[in-house]
Symmetry: C2
């Protein structure tokens, strides 16, 4: 059954109206749903219900709550993927795949070695598309929340907010080349439920020594295995490992 | 320094000739290398050397071994990613990313629910491109071996060869939905150095019950976390987790 997000709180006594233009288009024109059809709605209070469509018109679709669904598809830790600006197509699939793998927030940063240069106005245009990609990936992967995306013009702008996080990790290729193979797992083992984790990844050219130096005293400088991962691949490794360590038993 | 593969064994008393047209083009036209420049060559016997270019012409480039490099970038287990045929662009990046993450072999299978249909002759055309993608990804991620790719026209054709593997895992969305969260880690903990591991992933529509049934008695039917991963994402999760479990300490 197709899933949609509704930024209201579920309440079993209520009916709800879907007014988002794209959702209405998707329900009526893409899925060709009729009155009486069922969809799944994820509400702002993280409740998930199968709902019956009770009326359809151009501006709103009315649904009635039917059955509560129990599924917690969120990672036990709240992961922020902070990465350097990279080529558009690569960043778009980093967003899509990292959303599938459970990231909660994204920070796109104009880093020292970012070949791609964006200013705020260019970013504003991209944000519309970025948020659409993340919303659709969240729906497809049954996420309960849609990840947020922000742009910061340099890594110092991220550093000033590190008190918001319980753990800060910096994925640094150079320490991996030197054989650093224990810090990442050492950090993950300590993560507790609900902890906020910031993980920083460089652009294609990698992080500059100055950027790494910023976090040297407040973060774990980690290597992610023996191979050189591209800028868009490293976040997927980190998120997969967090799920493996924290979600899987055995 | 740029890396190239040479299908000869390194021998410190020897000079070597690069005769692969694409490598010659890359060295002379893309990298614009001159006599005296250095490149890194990975030899068939898994030895890696920095080499000096001693002569360049249209048909061959002569290099002289300079310094042995020590780097083991291969996963401790030999992983075969067996996946259903999926849309071309998605399968191509599955190949690229899985190579970065350490896969040794790929088997593309025409599965029950594969929307994409290919016959051997169509596959032969694609193989050229697929092998190029895998070779370039292996060079960029400093792999010591180039993964192999084969096509099998249905999953029974894979089943008849399972004796080749020490472990067989089947990533099955339906058991994940039912909350299966321990088999994958239970299997990984048992992997020993050099073990051959086959991991089977469905196409966009997932594996059919009949396909899963095939491996029920010989394999681990595993879930990969709480989120629904796309066909092209699940292999990256598995490979990242294997690296995390087997390569990282702490």
């Amino acid at each position: 059954m197709q899933r949609y997000f509704l930024n209201q709180n579920a309440d079993e006594d209520q009916r709800f109206f879907i007014t988002d233009k794209e959702d209405i288009h998707h329900i009526t024109n893409v899925m060709r749903h009729q009155i009486g059809d069922k969809i799944i709605i994820t509400f702002e209070n993280l409740k998930v219900y199968t709902c019956v469509i009770t009326s359809i018109d151009d501006t709103e679709i009315e649904v009635e709550l039917e059955e509560a669904q129990s599924n917690d598809t969120e990672l036990p830790v709240e992961v922020t993927i902070c990465s350097g600006l990279i080529k558009a197509d690569k960043y778009e699939w980093l967003l899509q795949k990292s959303t599938e793998l459970g990231a909660s927030h994204f920070i796109a940063v104009q880093m020292d070695r970012s070949v791609v240069k964006l200013n705020q106005s260019k970013v504003d245009k991209k944000m519309v598309r970025w948020n659409k990609i993340v919303k659709e990936a969240a729906e497809q992967s049954y996420r309960l929340v849609i990840p947020t995306i922000e742009f910061v013009s340099n890594l110092k702008g991220v550093y000033v907010n590190i008190d918001k996080y319980d753990y800060v990790l910096v994925a640094y290729e150079d320490v991996a080349k030197e054989g650093e193979m224990s810090e990442f797992k050492r950090a993950l083992k300590q993560f507790g439920k609900g902890d906020r984790v910031l993980i920083i990844f460089g652009p294609e050219g990698g992080l500059s020594p100055e950027e790494v130096e910023l976090f040297k005293n407040n973060g774990y400088i980690v290597g992610l295995g023996h191979r050189i991962l591209r800028a868009e691949t490293a976040p997927l490794y980190a998120l997969s490992a967090i799920s493996y360590e924290k979600e899987l038993m055995g």
